[in-house]
Amino acid sequence: MNNHYKKLMRKSLHMILGAIGFFLFVSLLYIFSVSGKKPVQAGVDVVKQIEAQNLPALLQEIRQKEVTEVEVTLPVPDGPSVPVPGWTDDETGASAQNGETEGKTLNFNDFPDLTDIPVIQVTESQTDAPAQVETQTDPVPTEPVTEPPQTEPVTDPIPTEPPLTVKQIRINDFKKEWNEKLDLNDVRNLSAEEQQQIHSMFMNTIFFGDSMTQAIGDYGFIDMSQVVYKRSASLDALKEKIPEVAAVFPERVVIFVGLNNCNYYKTPEAFADAFTAMVESLREQIPGVSLYVSSLLPPSDVLGSTRADLVRAPMYDALLNHTANLLGVEYIDANWIVRQQNYLKDGIHMNRTFYRVWFRYLQMLMSPNL
């Protein structure tokens, strides 16, 4: 009987081994015919090489091409130029085009949008908007000037200070118009056309800051993908977010921070130091970026009356302005836009109306001068 079972066990073992053998054979077939991906190493290397290209250099190459193809149009007087006291004949629009204006360096590659061109004749106006010149001159015609300019003295009392630049005039006009509207609380939402202009202008801009910046995206003025923020963050905390900003290699970064900094930084100097550090970090990680910083707005009167620490905000703002100028960061004064009725209940953040004006102001500041 033992023998019998031994034979049985042997036979059954053979069958099992046979089954396993068959299975192994099929697995081999599987491994050889089906499994395994085979990227070609030479090809992978080529792709990796493409990926490893230096991004700032590439962007420079791409953007350079755009800048050189853009035609620079400056206001050029059509008729014989009337010399304005204080400026020699050389300072006409023509030589400004060649970048030879005395005392002004036109550096398009650095700030292609912010050209400070001295106005030669205040009667000349080739901008679309009717320019209400605030200096002591007569109102100017709004059509493009093709007839010879007026030969009567352009300025009645000869100004002792240099005439305002086009940029300054436009800023003053803008402020006047919008100050009125803010006082009357007549600030319309952005029209479709304005929205489109803003979108195309700020395509390569990142807005960076704390909850004051967050509102820009929340209120729908710009796509959230262009807003990098951290609520209630100090400037130091924001530095950690810089890689996020750098990852997109923007051309411009607009910084807008608020009152939490008065809390974190006990003195305006500490705040200014932190700002300097952040600017350096930004410039290091995004070479060639243009930086702008908006004012640190004060708290509402109501809030300010109870918070001694926050009511010092104007001191911080003044030092921010000063530091920004030293660092070559464009300081955007937004204090004039503030109205008590446009504060949110917390007395710190601003409502939609504020941002409507703020955005329009930004757009005006950054649009290329005509």
């Binding site: 019998h4 049985l8 066990m9 036979k11 059954s12 073992l13 069958m15 099992i16 089954a19 299975f23 099929v26 697995s27 077939l29 599987y30 015919s33 089906v34 499994s35 395994g36 991906k37 085979k38 990227p39 070609v40 030479a42 090809g43 992978v44 080529v46 792709v47 990796k48 493409i50 990926e51 490893a52 290209q53 230096n54 991004l55 590439l58 962007l59 190459e61 791409i62 091409k65 755009e66 193809e69 939402n189 952005l190 029209s191 479709a192 929205q195 489109q196 202009q197 803003i198 979108h199 195309s200 395509m203 796509d223 993908s225 990098v228 996020e244 990852a247 997109v248 290699f249």
Partner: protein
């Protein structure tokens, strides 16, 4: 009982005893293997995650979800599952099974996806949305290119008598609809004849195991489109680089049919080189070039193009042109965009399946000079997301 009968009986007895023992041993062996076999969480072959051990709660036990989950778990974690699946496929192959999950096993090692005309209305809605959208921009040149699938161009390879609806018929009716709209700025571009000619020359337009076109197919498509766009395509040279030699695409995973052929993936790089960067708008990152080595090494090597599908890409190049292209696409266009880069300074690539922005703002603000709709017929027919993002009309405040 005679001697013979006794021997018969003994043999039968031996056989059944043997059977019994083998049976028992198999059960023990298998149970043992099941216990000790390492658990997997993801199947690269099937492109899905595998079921894990379910939690046992009274709720689960009562309503039956536990037992279902347990069954799934035991099935998914079966020892050497891939080999068994392969064995089953082998069996199917030998038995002549030619259809699985919408895919036909066809001649020359091709897997071809079927085309079923289920709901013409959805595609009609999409076409209408496109036409209405283009009407709003009469000054922008527009191009509409639908790419035929393998079920049309390679229909000779399909198994005889396969009940596939004709893409050709549907395309004819679609083209008629577009022509009836009478948009002066719209050009319908059709690569069909070129594809048929190329196929006759034995050129590979489609991948054997994937539903996409090969890069060569994309090249032919781009050539056809460039002619309508007035681009100097003939003057551009390309360098071919092979990046994959064993492409096993989506149709293989979808159907479970294993192809015994190998497809290669190639990239065509412009010569001389151009500088281009891709800005992944909603992901907030900008990367050089158009290709992703991570996508190439992943489960779906077709993702070498851009690393996959993204809602909105903005590609900037140093091309000496002021033309800016806005292209609405599915994944077919990924392979083709590289061919258009030397001719546009900016290409905005929108995938309506993921895009959440406002398309009209984009069209107006980005200074778009050309708009292109690039879809393969299968996706165009079935997808409803294009009409969704194009609806909207006037942008509201």
């Amino acid at each position: 009982m005679t001697d013979r009968e006794a021997r018969e009986r003994a043999r039968k007895l031996r056989f059944f005893r043997l059977l019994g023992i083998v049976f028992l041993m198999m059960i023990f062996l298998l149970s043992f293997l099941r216990l000790v076999w390492p658990r997997k969480s993801y199947s690269a072959q099937e492109r899905r995650s595998l079921a894990q051990l379910p939690e046992m709660t009274t709720e689960n036990l009562k309503n039956g979800t536990f037992s279902n989950a347990m069954e799934d778990y035991l099935a998914d974690q079966f020892p050497a599952r891939n080999v068994w699946v392969y064995l089953d496929e082998l069996r199917g192959h030998i038995m002549g099974e030619k259809y699985s999950q919408g895919v036909y096993r066809s001649g020359s090692g091709y897997l071809i996806e079927e085309f079923k005309r289920k709901d013409d209305a959805r595609a009609a809605k999409t076409t209408k949305a496109v036409i209405d959208y283009l009407r709003e921009y009469p000054d922008i040149r527009a191009y509409f290119m639908l790419i035929p699938n393998a079920s049309w161009i390679l229909k000779d390879k399909l198994p005889k008598g396969a009940p596939i609806d004709s893409q050709e018929e549907w395309y004819a009716s679609w083209e008629q609809e577009v022509r009836n709209a009478g948009l002066s700025n719209l050009t319908v571009v059709s690569p069909v004849q070129t594809f048929i000619d190329e196929t006759k020359l034995d050129k590979q337009i489609y991948y054997r195991t994937d539903h996409h076109w090969t890069t060569y197919g994309a090249y032919v498509g781009a050539k056809t489109l460039a002619a309508s766009m007035d681009l100097p395509f003939e003057n551009q040279n390309w360098k071919q680089v092979q990046v994959h030699s064993r492409f096993q695409g989506t149709l293989m995973s979808k159907s479970g049919f294993y192809s015994r052929t190998a497809d290669a993936i190639e990239l065509y790089l412009p010569e001389p080189e151009i500088a281009c960067v891709t800005n992944y708008k909603e992901q907030q990152k900008t990367l050089p070039g158009l290709y992703s080595s991570e996508g190439l090494a992943g489960d779906d090597p077709y993702e070498v193009f851009f690393g996959g599908n993204y809602p909105w890409l903005n590609i900037s190049t140093n091309a000496k042109s002021n033309r800016k292209l806005l292209i609405f696409k599915d994944s077919y266009a990924n392979a083709m965009i590289g061919f258009l880069c030397p001719f546009f300074s900016e290409i905005h690539v929108v995938d309506p399946r993921y895009y959440t922005g406002d398309i009209r703002t984009l069209t107006a603000s980005a200074g778009i000079t050309d708009i292109c709709f690039l879809y393969n017929i299968n996706t165009y027919y079935e997808d409803g997301s294009l009409s969704l993002i194009l609806e909207g009309g006037e942008a509201d405040e």
